[in-house]
Symmetry: C2
Subunit: 147 residues, 2 copies
């Protein structure tokens, strides 16, 4: 099955700080969707709401400063049952973030869109941690007619 | 084999204009690498040079306003023999760009980096056409210790 994979390095941020941005409502609202509610504990469900649509993610794993894994339990058909994972490690002045959105059934055009859009939000995560200011929905960078 | 796929929409630009940015040295230098030389004709080889390293692309196909396809004939080991393709079509006020970098042997960490970096350069392509100003190397947005 085709996967979306990405890599960014967040400068002068520790894995603990990146982990906090992935596992707290405030952190997630700072780079992905301002409207983020729910529970970020393992087994909990986080609700992300965008100008158009949204996703509910069940937290499958949350290993402090190292690994986070979600399963999509509500959202667009193409996303249902897919998983989103984050691996963190320190390398010099950077925290390296390895991202994967796996389990897509087909490499449809919507997957191409999501691949680009994930990259834009990863840059937003990086900027939140480096400058204190991310670009979450609805202040995110539009990349097309699909936003 | 794993692929990198992306989708952007360039607003108020025709497929012809996007095609020009993909098939002229000036166009390519405006969003990807300022140091771009060579021949952009079918069968020609384009040399892209970055602060660190570079790629030579053989032009396999150039179908005006619709499709461009390159093969990597020199560059990092992981890129050798891979292909980069662009499909263009008009949709309302947008030119939709479907991008694919195919033929990777393994989903190595460098592929994750390239996936994110391609997205950043696609946004640069979009901005070049929408605003007249892209962000090619060496003025590109750094995403990590790997640039």
């Amino acid at each position: 099955m085709p996967d979306i994979i990405h890599r960014i390095g967040v400068e002068n941020a520790t894995p603990e700080q990146v982990y906090t941005a992935l596992t707290t409502l405030d952190g997630l609202a700072g780079w992905w969707a301002e409207k983020t509610t729910g529970s970020t504990d393992t087994g909990g469900v986080i609700e992300f709401r965008f100008r158009v649509g949204g996703f509910d993610m069940k937290v499958l794993a949350a290993d402090p400063a190292r690994h986070v894994r979600w399963e999509v339990v509500a959202g667009p058909d193409e996303w249902l049952g897919t998983t989103v994972s984050w691996h963190l490690r320190q390398e010099g002045d950077y925290t390296i973030v390895l991202f994967a959105h796996e389990g897509w059934r087909e490499p449809v055009e919507f997957m191409s869109h999501c691949s680009t859009k994930w990259a834009v939000f990863l840059v937003s995560l990086k900027q939140l941690l480096e400058t204190g200011e991310g670009a979450p929905d609805p202040r995110d960078l539009p990349i097309s007619d699909w936003h």
